[in-house]
Every structure is written in C-alpha cells, then in structure tokens.
Amino acid sequence: MSVQSSRRRVCGAVLTAVAATTLVTGCGSSESGSAADRTLVSYTGQSGDYQINFNPFSSSTMEGPGTIFEPLFFYNITQDAKPVPLLGTDFAWNADGTRLLVTLRPNVKFSDGTPFTAQDVAFTLDMVAKNKTINTTGYDGEAVATDDTHVRITFPKPAFMQGPQVLGKTFIVPRHLWSKIPDPANDVIAQPVGTGPFVLEEFKPQAFTFKANPGYWGGEPAVKRIRYLALAGNQSGADALAGKQIDWQTGPVPDIKDVAKNYPGYQAITIPMNQMNLTACSNAALGCAGPQTDPAVRKAIHYAINRTQLNSLAFEDTASDISPGFTLLGRDAKYVSPKLQEKLAPKAPDLARSAGLLLGAGYAKGPDGLFAKDGKPLELTVQVPSGWTDYITAITTMTQQLQPAGIKLLAQQVSYNEWADARVRGRFQLLIDAMNQGPSADPFYDYNYYFSTETTAKVGESAYPNYSRYSNPEVDAALNAVKGIDSTEAAKRQPYFDVVQTRVEQDMPYIPILTGGTTSEYHSDKFTGWPAKDNLYAFPAVWSRPDQAQIYKTLKPVGR
C-alpha cells in the first residue's frame, strides 16, 4: 500500500539526495534492441540482494504466485465483479455453504509438459490443510477429485467467506513434483513448475528474469520477459524511474500529480484502498488505560480534525473520503449503511460539537485551554514509526488542529519493530495505521478482521488484527450471521452490515482519518493495456499477487 511503502529509512533519505542528483546508469540497462523492448522491468521494492525463494506458500517468496503458479479464479479486489476463470471455469456452493463444486479447465499443461488435472487441485488443498505452517487462510475443508476436471470440497461449517481464499488465493502446484517434498514450508522451490503464463528463465541475487510460457493455455503473453530488479539499498524507485531503469513500481514519488511531466513516458494511477485511522486502545475491560478508552474522547477528536487541510499537508491530496462505518468508499459504496448518522466523515472541523462531547463526558476546560478531568489534562500519545514521513506530518498537523479543541496530542516516534510490537500487544493509547483489504471485493473481511472479538486479545497478549481491542456482542452476532449467507445475496447481508457499521460509528474504536491511495507509476510509452480508472481489471500494484499476472498478460509492447 502506498502510504506505507513510501517511507524509506531515515538513513536512506539522506543518501537518496546524492543518488537523485547523479542519475544512476548501469544496472540491467545493457540490453538493446527488440529483446529489451519486450522486456518489462518490475521493481517490487526489493532493496539489497534477493535470496532465492519461489515457494508460493512462503511468506518471503520473491515472486511466482499468479505468474508461475495460478489460482483457480482471479478475484479483483478493486471492484465487485464476477471472479475471472483461470484454472477453474465454474464453481457452485450448496445452499448452506458447506459444499463447493469446482469445474476445472481441460487441456492445461504444467510447464514441464505434465497434464494438469483435478488430482493436482485436491493434492494442493490437502497439503495446505495438513501443513499448518503454510495454511495462511484457515482452510479446513476436504477436497476430493471426482474426475479429471471436477473437485468437490466439503467444509465442516458454512464457509461462503472462505471461497475467495480457496478459489482465489490458493496457488495450485503439480502433484508429481510436490508429493516428493517432505516439508513444503521449508523448500525454496529453486526450479518452479506451474501452469502460469511465465516460467523462470534465470536467477541472480541482484535480478531474476521470467520468460513467457509458450505453452500457456491462454496463449503466449505478448510481454516476452519480465525482469525483477533489486535496487541497491539507498537508491529509490523514483531515481530508477527517472533513469528509465524500471517500467513499473508501486509507491509514491515526490510531486505525484505531475508524474507525466517529471518522468516523460510514464503515467501514475492512484487507487483508494486503505482506511487510515487513529487506532485507539479502546477497551478498558481488556486492559486498555487512558482517556482514549472513553468513546466521547475518540469522537471529540473525530470532529476536531480538519480533513481537507490534512489531505493537502500530509498526503499531497491523494487521499480521499472515508466512512465512519469503515466501508471502503468507491468499491463498496453500495454497502454503506443508510442508517449511519454520517455517511462520510466530516471534512471540516466542528469544534463546538467536539467540546459538547467532552463536556458531556465530565471534562472541563482548564486555564491553559486544555480540557481536563479529575485534575488530569486531556493528553494522548500517538505512536508512529520513525521515518514514516507522511504519517508524521499527519500527526503534526492533527496536533495543531486539535489544540483549539482543547485536546493535546503527543507524537511518539518509535522504531518500526517497536511500533509493530506495541500495536499487537496493545501497549499504546493511539497509533496511526491503515486497514488492509481481504481476498475479494467484500466489506465483510475488514469488518471481521478489525471489529470482531475473535481477532482480539487482552492487553499484553497478541491481538491480530483487531488492535483496538474492540468487542461488541451485537457486532459479533451480525458477523457470524453473514458467514452463513452466500456473498451474492446482497439484500440478505445488508441488515447485518448495517448493525456493524452503526455500532462502529457509535463506539468509534478506530478514529477515521481518510482513505489512503496506492499509487503506481508505469511506463506507458513502452507498454499499453495498463489498468485505468475506467478499466480497473486488476489492482495495479506491482506487489499485489495474483493481480500482477493479470496485468502482465494484458500488456502489449508499443508498436507491435
């Protein structure tokens, strides 16, 4: 996500100044002619050498999901659309969501020439279920290949919401090779064999290259080669763009609005994807302490923020509106509850309303202009990783905005590891953070990740990812009910979504700031067919898998 990936280490920022003044040459630019024209150079943010790992189930995989190993279907997380058939052609749930029938594409071959069958799908799913160390989706089904092109998956309880994980994020591997791997979590798969549009050509620690798979079931891609470059520690993606060393990267560059002018031949696209918020350790019953455990304080902050000013000062106006119910605007706009008091977080501050909330909660304004209760002034610390400049600017801005409202924010810059630890263990008052999306375009996942009691824990224990320690039985009941409803039945789900959104707005465990955008820059003079606002066929982030494979398959070299 852009807001976060923009932050370089502080030491890097100093060094970049030199790199920027001295446009870098070399680094993989030694090719020329038509081969180079059809080679796409991707930069996924790798700094320093690559350590080989093409295991699609590994957390540290370099690449491969989508490009070499394909899922059954492609779920586009940028819009509510029908899943795109890849290795699967069709799927159907039974009425209570405990049985899933998948029809597979016939006549597909792995890149080593072995035919792909339902046995491979059943094997992959079984392997994930059996090996807890690679089961990152909580898959608990049982898969049976009924014939060469059909798989039946049965689940112990309604599993509609597991569908996108099983169908869209489980990458199918060949049984004839993987059945010989004793421990799939610990193998780096140095010679990956899959069904995907690309195969590994060569690997070197500073770059590796994929080439188009001539036997791909969808036809050989027009992009003949993809090179993944590891930029050196202190060289930034922006420098590499300026030197035309890379064709695609995700992450903001200075002066985002003028990318086409500053980097001739390149375009930028920003997709709102992350609900930025001030996460409050909100639940005193689970051990949170401090003034932020009072919902009135959280709402007083909410109403005192000047979001228009914040957007321009901290986010170069790339952020967009946010809903207090945390439904992702744009993509999930149709799910925004009509029962919310405010469908959008106010852009202008309302200090009178903020003060009213605090007075109602027993606070009184002291001589120094700060609200205080029981002799204690209303002061809150906000933790932010040092070096994350846009968030630091955002906190500085909010500190000034909240001053006339009688609320004092104290920014506390900590190391990234310390911040991550405080977040999980609940050792914070407020921290600035952003929400991530689930495996498909469905607001359920964020509600379930961030608001459910199941995903939280007492302060001191690890909560993931409900860091605010929010717990509300009504929300839990509504989320449980949604799990038993097919995601295509929007009307049946909406009443439960209304409950979640209105309760979250009322309790405000996360104070909404703005929706953060993910910005990517791409070489539009060299390739055509990039996702655009009106044709968002995949999420255009180079590190988003398997979205990147959909984009590689669609791109065409210019003039060919």
């Binding site: 030199v18 994980q165 050196a232 994807m273 991550a420």
Partner: protein, 329 residues
Amino acid sequence: MSYYLRKLAFYLVALWAALTLDFFILRLLPGNPVDVLLAKLAQRGGAPDPSVRRAYELLLGTHSDEPLWSQYVSYLDRLRHGDLGVSVSVFPAKVSDVIAQALPWTLVLVGIATLLSFVLGVGLGVIVGWKRGTWLDALVPGTTVLAAVPYFWLALLLAALLAGALGWFPLLGGYDVALDPGWNADFIGSAVYHGTLPALTIVVSSVGGWLLGMRNMMVSTGSEDYVLTAQAKGLRDGRVMLRYAARNAVLPSVAGFAISLGFVVSGSIVTEQVFAYPGIGSKLLQAVQNNDYALMQGIFLIITVAVLGANLVIDLLYGLIDARTRARA
C-alpha cells in the same frame, strides 16, 4: 607451554562470554519476528487474516513457551555442531548460506582496502618521519583531516564527485547485474570496477592514522644511537631509513594491522550502505530491521571469532618473538 595453555583458556572463556552476550542482548530488542513479518506483508497489501499469524508463529517456532534458559542451552548445543539456524528475514534460507553469500564481498573489499591503507600509510609515514621539517610535514594534518571528516560524508562527497559528476565509477552495487557471477573475466572485471570507489573511500579516510603512528615512531627511532652509528659509517641515507630506522619503527604498526585484520570480517556497515555493496554489513542491517535473531547471532559469531582469532595469533606470535611477554612478573 603453560603460557600457551593459559592463553588458549583465556580465549575460550572470552568466546563463551561473547556468545552468551550475543544470545541475551538480542532478545532484549523490542518486537518479534512474526510481527515484523506481518507488518511487512501488510505493507504489501496482504490480507490481515488471523490464520496468517497462526501459520507464521508455527513456521518460525516463536509460539513456543520454552523458557529463555533452555533456548540458550539448545543454542549453544546447535553451535557446537556448527548449526547457525535458519534466517527469518529470508526464510527458509540457512544463516550459514546467507553469510557465505555475503562474506566474500566484504573480505575482498575491506581486506584489500585495509591492506592498501596500511601499506600506503606506513610507507608515507616512513618518508615523512625521516624527512621531518620539510614540506612533507603537511601530509600529517592533511590526512588526519580526511580521517576526522565523518566517513559517510566523505564517502557521499567522493561518490557525488567521482561517480556522479565525473562518471568514472558506478555509483552503486557490487557488479553489473547483466553478468553471471563466477570466475570469468567479465564478472571479475566488473566486480573490481564496482569495488574501486568504495575501497578508495576507506583508504582515504583511514590512511591518516597509519601515517601518523608510523611517522611518530620514525621520529623517535631516528634519534637512536644505532641510526647515528649507521649514518656515521657512511651508509646511504635510503638504506639507513629503510633497513635501520623503519624496520624497528614498524613493529607497533604491524601489531595494529594484525588486529585490524580481525575487524575486516565485520566489514564496514556505512560503506556498504552508501554504495549498496552486497556484503556482511548490509546483511547485519537487514537482520536488525527484521528481528532476525539467528542471522544477527551468526554474523556476530563470525565477527567475534575473527577478532579473537586475530588477537590470539598476535599474542602467540609475540610470545614467540619476545620472551619478555612470556615471563611472569
């Protein structure tokens, strides 16, 4: 004989103390590898599913409630078998593989730079010390100023000038990525070309220390009686300088050089950062940023062993050369 046994015993105790500190100090760091990994995945748009966390805890073995004490015992036991563990930041690569990939780069770059700096500094020191009172004296403050300038600033200036403005050297990296690493002329040429500028910055910033030390020793040996005798015999000036004065004056510098060889392994984190050089220093930084205990321990172990080893060799050699160091007071 008991002198050597005493020395060996002392170094074994020192090694154990260093290993123990490595183990406990690292565990005082905030955070744990699973949270760092998850936070990184989140930056890349990964769905924050609680199952992900459970899987990674199992994978990295951090869910265990094993007490620190028994972790320590098994750590020492694994070290005895030469098993440095598995790196978390580039899971599932072995720590020994990660170090093996990075170490040659550092050894060659920092090793050659240290050697060059020593030879150059001592050589110049001999001349400056011998011809004191001439314009050559200006070399002392000149090189010391270069040593006093913060290294990263000097390196950035040289990079901006020689690699940026003049374009004589590549700015970043260890070799041209279009080439195949291996024993072929193209690759070695490229590695030498990429290593020249970083090596130059190390030499420029460290030559002053060697020069100053050598020059001062030369000044004091220059007034010894045997030098005067040699001159009185009518020997050529150059012969007196090299064979009589310099030979005696260089002894402390040689000891210093041997110790600094021990530090070659730890490399130069700043050099490797500035030039994005693929060595041990950049791996250490990566390990610290990812709470990768195993990798940090492995690197510290290598550094500790190298420094202790260099010291041990010097100690033993001195015992051999100079009987006085063996005698008990």
